[in-house]
């Protein structure tokens, strides 16, 4: 295959070998992998923090760590898991897959794309460095509520909280740059013939998620700017002692951070929607409704944020309104679950690793959905607010669903990205360890919460010891589960068997090109003539490239 050189392109050549992953490449595939690998580095780092916390929590006494160190650890664990792992890894998938799935040669703005990526290591390094400043890293949790986040015991301008805000701001700029790039790409660069209802569900979910970034993130930025002013130059926005309003920060924060949950979970829904049809050999059930329901979630998720503040002195009428909107948003989500079950139902299931992770993720998600609906009802939330019930619930979403979906995606597209096949045995081992670890780690948190154990504490009443020991063992199991994963990735990438263009016999534009795809993906831009997921139908996907 010859790559025609375009004289107009001012874009620097990408180095040919592994070194390209350390260069300012503008190829969306290189950037996608850069995002994913960087993100996994942060996953491991934040995972180590989690292990240390679980080590502390295995006994009721605060014997391992100082309390302030524990505060710093959960803050950094939460922040790095979200801004260093989940967001970047999903940006990586969007980057890698969207142009391939829509039949484009690259993203709309390749250089902007590279710039957005290179901010992520900066974010990570800043957060790590904050351990070294006097007073240590930020300690006010991943949500940085004032007045805790306004305390500055060292009195230095450069303190942990300051660096935290800086890092979050840079990550926000990077996300906005990424979002406008992805949205423009999806809206304008779909291949000829690919109308909206021929566009894969994953692309829909990415679009829906990135639209949320665009309307939500600026609100958080506004709140962060004001918090930064309070912290550094002495304004009074959120400082109750000077007439400020700390609850206003909570509004800014949750106006973004509830939808942010959908930014993270929507692309995972997209991965589920891509994976199930392949391994069940059936079209995605209710594809069009699944596609549109993503955008409905985008809209609804902008009007539910106050459910995080039921316990913050919110007036009664507001509680009712937001309780109702929260229950409403579970409808489009429920539709998706229904569609996946419909897809699997009666199919000839092939239980390869991607499918196992997708199924496991679906099971965990249903469970998380049940506890979520419980939490959205005001009477229950008032009771368990700030307990381990909440921690259990959101880890079932973040680990049980999102991490599972990401692993499903990694295994599913690994052959495409690297051209190599992973080792199925190690993959399955990874799955079983992860599934068991998740249950053992996060299920006990629910009874703990109902018994009243508060979150964010390094020590607890001995009556909670039993469940905490189980949770800690589960945590260590999750730590162990990453070993077969890393082994598998490294050894398969370097010395796995060649995978071929389409090892899963999947239908989709990305499976029509070589593995890994050439520099500009398609020698000839595909002309799409069929809906996606034509499993069991005897039809061609494209006019010119077959499929």
């Amino acid at each position: 295959m010859t790559v025609t050189s375009n004289p107009e392109q001012l874009i620097p050549e990408t180095p040919p070998n592994w070194r390209k992953y350390f260069s300012f490449s503008t190829d969306h595939k290189v950037i996608g992998i850069q995002y994913i690998v960087t993100a996994f580095f942060f996953f491991l780092l934040a995972g180590v923090f989690a292990m240390i916390m679980r080590g502390e929590l295995i006994t009721p006494e605060p014997d391992l760590l100082d309390r302030t160190v524990y505060n710093g650890l959960y803050t950094m664990h939460g922040t790095i898991m979200l801004f260093g792992w989940t967001f970047p890894v999903l940006s990586g998938f969007a980057n890698y897959l969207v142009p391939l799935m829509i039949g484009a040669r690259d993203m709309a703005f390749p250089r902007l794309n590279a710039a957005a990526f290179w901010m992520i290591p900066v974010v990570g390094i800043l957060l790590i460095l904050s351990f070294l400043v006097p007073g240590g890293p930020a300690q006010s949790g991943w949500w940085a509520y004032p007045p805790q986040s306004l305390q500055n015991p060292t009195g230095n301008l450069i303190n942990g909280q300051f660096i935290w805000l800086l890092a979050v701001a840079i990550s926000g700029v990077s996300s906005i740059m990424g979002a406008l790039n992805i949205v423009t790409t999806i809206v304008r660069m779909r291949a000829p013939g690919m109308g909206w209802f021929k566009t894969p569900a994953f692309v829909w979910t990415v679009l829906a998620a990135q639209l949320i970034q665009l309307y939500g993130l600026p609100a958080l930025t506004a709140g962060a700017v004001m918090l930064l002013c309070d912290l550094s130059v002495g304004t009074a926005f959120f400082d109750p002692a000077q007439g400020g309003d700390p609850v206003l920060f909570q509004h800014f924060f949750w106006f973004y951070s509830h939808p942010a949950v959908y930014v993270m979970v929507l692309p995972v829904f997209g991965i589920f929607s891509e994976v199930f049809p392949v391994y069940a050999r059936k079209p995605l059930f209710g594809y069009k409704i699944v596609a549109v329901s993503s955008l409905i979630i985008t809209g609804l998720s902008g009007i539910v944020w106050v459910h995080h503040m039921f316990a913050s002195g919110t007036p009664g009428w507001m509680r009712i309104v937001f309780m109702a909107s929260t229950m409403l948003i579970s409808v489009p989500t429920g539709i998706k679950v229904f569609a996946w079950v419909g897809t699997i139902w009666g199919g000839k299931l092939r239980l390869d690793t991607p499918m196992l992770f997708a199924l496991g993720g679906l099971i965990n998600f249903v469970f998380a959905g049940i506890t979520g609906i419980m939490l959205s009802s005001v009477p229950i939330d008032i009771h368990v607010n700030n307990t381990y019930f909440v921690v259990g619930h959101f880890h079932y979403v973040l680990y049980g669903t999102i991490a599972f979906g990401i692993f499903a995606g990694i295994y599913h597209w690994f052959p495409k990205m690297t051209g190599k096949m992973y080792y199925e045995g190690l993959g399955k081992l990874h799955f079983y360890l992860t599934f068991a670890g998740t249950a053992l780690n996060f299920l006990p948190m629910h009874p703990l919460g109902l018994m009243g154990m508060p979150r964010r504490v390094a020590s607890y009443d001995p009556e909670f010891a039993f469940w905490n020991v189980l949770a800690s063992l589960g945590g260590f199991l999750l730590g162990i589960s990453t070993i077969p994963f890393i082994l598998n990735m490294v050894s398969s990438w370097t010395s796995g068997k060649p995978a071929g263009n389409n090892p899963w016999k999947a239908i989709g534009l990305e499976w029509l090109v070589s593995s890994p795809p050439e520099h500009e993906n398609f020698e000839e831009i595909p002309i799409v003539i069929a809906e996606p997921y034509g499993y069991g139908k005897d039809e061609k996907l494209t006019e010119n490239l077959g499929g």
């Binding site: 709309a108 406008l180 304008r188 600026p218 930025t221 002013c229 304004t235 009074a236």
Partner: protein
């Protein structure tokens, strides 16, 4: 294809597809820029929302010793900024008609008006008897006017770049995205100011 000379045809094709490609890229960039502005406007909306919450719930809104904001100078400033939106529009029209000097003159006039606005803002700040640490009011006042002022400054700088670029040969062969987006940005800054003016100065 009915052409007898396939190579010639091929050449024509690549040429026209290159032009089409250019156009497409311009359109992409415009869409990207509009999305950016929409997103940016949410920051302002959030500040505005914060302002409204503070103003309607505060116990002591104005700092002690302050009775209100002088509205005359800011009103003049408003008129100037709003008119500059029309001036920049005329400049853009001239460029479309490929009248470069007409473009430059009106473009420069916009810059002068924008700079005057910044000057007026600075003078106003200097005359105020409260600072950004004077309670919530002082903070949000300086935050809003300062953040908006930064946008005005950015606008003027962008305009300066476009003005310089207009002297480079062959500059608009590849389209006028730079000028169009700068102008759009200017309208955006203008609209934000109108809301800001009503919130802070009119609604006292």
């Amino acid at each position: 294809m009915t052409s007898l000379d396939p190579t010639l045809n091929q050449e024509k094709l690549t040429q026209s597809s290159q032009v089409a490609h250019k156009h497409e890229e311009e359109d992409n960039r415009m869409l990207g820029f509009i999305i950016f502005l929409l997103s940016e406007s949410v920051i302002f909306l959030s500040f505005f929302a914060g302002y409204i919450v503070y103003k309607t719930t505060a116990v002591d809104w104005l700092p002690p010793g302050v009775s209100g904001l002088e509205i005359r100078e800011p009103a003049i400033n408003t008129v100037i900024l709003v008119s500059s939106s029309f001036v920049i529009y005329i400049a853009e029209r001239f460029l479309h008609k490929e009248n470069l000097w007409g473009f430059r003159i009106f473009w420069l006039l916009t810059m002068v008006m924008g700079s005057y606005f910044l000057y007026g803002q600075a003078v106003e700040w200097q005359g105020l008897e409260f600072g950004f640490t004077s309670g919530v009011f002082g903070g949000i006042f300086y935050l809003l006017t300062g953040f908006h002022g930064l946008h005005v400054l950015t606008g003027v700088l962008l305009q300066a770049i476009m003005l310089i670029r207009s002297f480079l040969p062959n500059n608009y062969a590849g389209g006028q995205f730079g000028v169009e987006s700068t102008s759009l940005f200017w309208h955006f800054v203008d609209v934000i100011w109108i809301v800001l003016f009503i919130l802070i100065y009119v609604w006292q």
